[in-house]
């Protein structure tokens, strides 16, 4: 599978943390978007990140995924220092992710989107001497992934023809098909309707328990319902970390973040 061709990750004993962010910070000109956040993910751990709009969640996410380089602190992935390492390399180490704003291949079909994701820079993607085959393993995996998010009936449509919510579903399918060893999700449920949300919920629940997940969500039933541990941020800083219940009951979190519907 995809994992087989990945370059060997660094030292990785059982129980060693898969992802460590040590006092990372990111400054954009006058804005300190992320300010000294430390985070350790154990194998199989599922962490939620919440916080008001503009708290720095996505920026933190980008620091972990490699889209942005931190202005302070270090990031370690599977025991390897990746602070200055590019996105592609982190992906090859096994990091899978979604985008907060759908980032799809608009002029390609839905199926091709997922196929390209499934090949993820492996030697299969370099095959140029014969056409893509409709029944090969990659296509099967791609279809299965579409099925799991409920998009298989649109496999042959062009992405530009999809509704917003359908594009969000595709976004998730593309992250999952890479069979990542650590999964970062940035507001995966945004734009999804109720049914699709419960599908998503089931999907995440059914992922192997060994897969560590970092989840940013404003939907509290997901952010608090799917995770082992939740971190709340505000203005780039850490506010509180704890079990979902602890965070929900925290007075600061209630004041700065939770709405009437969630405080109930």
């Amino acid at each position: 599978m995809a994992a087989a061709v990945r370059t060997a990750p660094g030292p990785r004993g059982p129980g060693a943390p898969v992802l460590v962010a040590d006092a990372v910070g990111k400054r954009f000109g006058g804005v300190q978007a992320v300010d000294g956040i430390s985070l350790t993910m154990a194998p199989g751990e599922r962490i939620g990140v919440i916080g008001p709009n503009g708290a720095g969640k996505t920026t933190l996410f980008k620091l972990l995924a490699g889209d942005e380089l931190p202005t302070a602190g270090t990031v370690e992935l599977f025991g390897q220092d990746v602070t200055r390492v590019g996105t592609a390399r982190r992906a090859r180490l096994g990091l899978g992710r979604t985008f907060q704003v759908s980032n799809l291949f608009r002029d390609m079909t839905v199926l091709d989107n997922v196929r390209v994701a499934a090949r993820g820079g492996t030697p299969r993607a370099r095959v140029f001497w014969r056409p893509q085959r409709p029944k090969d393993e990659i296509s099967q995996r791609a279809l299965a992934s579409l099925e799991s998010v409920g998009l298989s009936r649109r496999a042959q449509d062009t992405v530009a023809d999809l509704s917003h919510g359908e594009q969000r579903q595709l976004e998730i399918a593309m992250a999952l098909v890479t069979e990542p060893e650590i999964l970062l999700l940035d507001e995966p449920a945004a734009g999804l309707s109720a049914v699709e949300r419960s599908t998503l919920r089931r999907l995440i629940e059914e992922l192997p328990r060994t897969l560590p997940i970092l989840l940013i969500e404003h939907d509290m039933s997901l952010a608090l319902g799917l995770t082992d541990r939740v971190m709340c941020m505000e203005n780039g800083r850490h506010v509180v970390t704890g079990t979902p219940q602890e965070v929900r009951d925290n007075e600061t979190v209630k004041a700065i973040y939770l709405g009437r519907r969630d405080k109930k």
Partner: protein
């Protein structure tokens, strides 16, 4: 095999048959020679087409790549080297130039890519002009022969038909391969591709090399056709016309380059015999094509056919239909 695919293959076979029988239809040597020019231009245009449609990289430097290859052959012939050496040198020089282009342009995108290739094309043109000890300056190199077996114009023409068929098929396969899908992914979103673990520049470079290699071949064929190469072969205007050919025929279509090349070459060489204001004619053809067949002649025809078959009566005339749409994948 889908019906579309069958129809396409059938049409292709018919076309090749027609092309191959052309010299036997009582055509004059001159007509065969014009047809040869069209085929060579079509091969070159199809490399531009591939890169622009699948890779999103519109190049203004392919004329110069082909020109460089032609100079490779020319120089070798000037030095009295054997035919094999001439061929080898043409390809080596062409591929070398391609590599330089590729490496320098990989970090750029869209219009910036266009400009880097333009600048490099101008450098090649400048070298062709200035490095006269090698290139004989603007007088160019004459008397470059083609292999004995191809000496007859019709033989060379048939050889060109073969080359056209092979290169077109090759590009067709590449475009539908996993690599082609990867390229389209890069075209649509480089950041997504990176986060999927693709080393984007490597793939872009790969595409550029494929396209540049075939362009080099076209350069060699061109010099075999005219027995002559001069800086004008590497001129920017030629590269611009290549893009024009591609758009006229239809970006991303298999036969578009041939149709586009035929129109441009015929206007330049044949219509100009009788119409003094032929540049105006050419310009009007471009304008009318865009107004009435936005996706290019082949592209729009294919779209009309497809729609007719499907029998849909869509309300809106097709608006921005992006390049990638015309390259379809097979349905499992």
């Amino acid at each position: 095999m889908t019906r579309d695919r069958k129809v396409g293959l059938g049409a292709m076979a018919l076309l090749l048959l027609a092309l191959a029988s052309y010299p036997y239809l009582g055509t004059s040597g001159y007509q065969v020679s014009i047809a040869s020019t069209v085929l060579i231009a079509a091969i070159l245009a199809s490399t531009v087409n591939f890169l622009a449609a699948d890779g999103g990289m519109a190049s203004l430097g392919h004329g110069a790549i082909a020109g460089a290859a032609a100079y490779g052959a020319g120089w070798a012939s000037l030095q009295g080297h054997s035919m094999a050496t001439q061929i080898a040198l043409a390809m080596v020089v062409g591929i070398l130039v391609t590599t330089v282009y590729g490496v320098l342009s990989m970090r750029t995108n869209g219009i910036y890519f266009l400009m880097v290739t333009l600048a490099l094309g101008m450098v090649v043109f400048g070298l062709a002009y200035r490095l006269s000890s090698v290139t004989r300056g603007e007088n160019g190199i004459t008397g470059i022969e083609r292999p004995e077996v191809l000496a007859e114009p019709w033989a060379f023409y048939l050889f060109l038909v073969g080359c056209f068929a092979v290169t077109t098929a090759a590009l067709w396969v590449v475009s539908r391969s996993p690599f082609g899908a990867t390229l389209r992914g890069i075209r649509d979103s480089e950041s997504r591709m990176r986060s999927l673990g693709y080393y984007v520049p490597a793939y872009k470079l790969g595409a550029f090399m494929i396209s540049g290699t075939i362009a080099s071949l076209a350069g060699l064929l061109a010099v075999w056709h005219t027995h002559f190469v001069s800086p004008s072969a590497t001129e920017l205007g030629r590269s611009v016309l290549l893009i024009v050919m591609v758009l006229l025929g239809g970006l991303g279509t298999t036969l578009g380059p041939l149709v586009g090349a035929a129109i441009v070459i015929l206007v330049e060489n044949v219509v100009s015999n009788s119409v003094e204001r032929w540049p105006t004619v050419l310009g009007l053809i471009f304008i009318l094509t865009i107004l009435f067949a936005r996706a290019g002649l082949v592209g729009s025809a294919a779209k009309v056919l497809r729609r007719r078959r499907r029998g849909t009566d869509a309300g809106e005339p097709d608006t921005a239909e992006p390049a990638g749409l015309t390259t379809t994948t097979t349905i499992p």
